[in-house]
Symmetry: C2
């Protein structure tokens, strides 16, 4: 069992949501599993994820926290680590990939440290290694949130005088796109 | 049918993933449904979402794009709009909530423009209105991406001399947390 699922269900959910069995997401599943165990049942936990790559999907699949419901926040630090914490008292656990321990699993170490080209290490082989390694390559620590725990509130909104769409007034007298920051052009 | 699902499945998936039937996500489902139709079948589409609230989960549930696989990007503009675009030729469609049309649906208008306290407009009532409104409150436009289409690549990584975790060298001589930007303290 991992994250309350059979291994088959676990892999199936990853593939359905993420599109393929990304090793970072399989490893992330073990990290979420560990963090859930540490924080214990019955705790309303929010999540912080320290990389944009793969790991956010492990949190979204295997905890109630998603990007859209605001219970998961992502910081773009490129660190393979996540925190689950009690949203009421801010106590939680950070779980991370322990590089030193990965040295016992050369496939895992070489993949994570970019020492091997992707085509030389097939997904199935790497994922097999991740299952062998499991929690033995994870470290964890009891922590208390000092930042990022704030729930963001929408401020007042108004109608942008240029495009006619609603936008938050704190952004200025027109919306971001009409200030020239758009990512698109009509065609 | 909506996003290739029965209404019952659609609602069930939202509740399972997001935790509850958030109106923004129900409305977002109609937006994704419209964008998918516009872009047509067989296109490998990436997504841009223009708000952090609710809407990213509609994209993650009803397209192959997720936050963790990098096919969905989110800009924090607080605009209720999304774009699906062909990742090869950068042509796509932007779909947004057309405020003028929502005036025919006072519940929807009042909710979106924050004219009514949450407890005065029960979820079921609002979601019922959203189903009545459906696509009639959406606008769309053919666009071409001028930015944000770049796939981010991980740069070289190294071991942080302070914490011993891997981090990207472009961030400096130690990781973000060890530079004093951490969000946690040990306990």
């Amino acid at each position: 069992m991992i994250c309350g699922r059979s291994v088959a269900e676990f892999l199936q959910e990853i593939e359905k949501f993420h599109g393929y069995l990304a090793p970072g997401l399989v490893l992330g599943g073990f990290m979420v599993d560990r963090a859930l165990e540490l924080i214990g049942p019955g705790v309303e936990a929010d999540a912080i994820v320290e990389t944009r790559y793969c790991l956010p999907d492990a949190v979204q699949l295997f905890t109630p926290c998603t990007y859209g419901n605001g219970w998961m926040k992502v910081v773009d630090w490129d660190k393979f680590a996540l925190t689950l914490y009690d949203r009421h008292n801010l106590n939680g656990y950070r779980v991370w990939l322990d590089l030193t321990s990965t040295r016992s699993f050369p496939n895992l170490y070489n993949w994570y440290m970019q020492r091997v080209p992707k085509h030389d290490l097939p997904l199935e082989v790497l994922n097999q290694t991740i299952f062998e390694a499991g929690r033995s390559v994870l470290s964890s620590r009891a922590i208390r949130l000092t930042d990022l725990f704030q729930r963001s509130k929408k401020g007042p909104i108004a109608v942008c005088p240029r495009c006619g769409e609603a936008y938050p007034t704190r952004q200025g007298d027109r919306c971001r796109a009409c200030q020239g920051n758009g990512y698109y052009a009509p065609r």
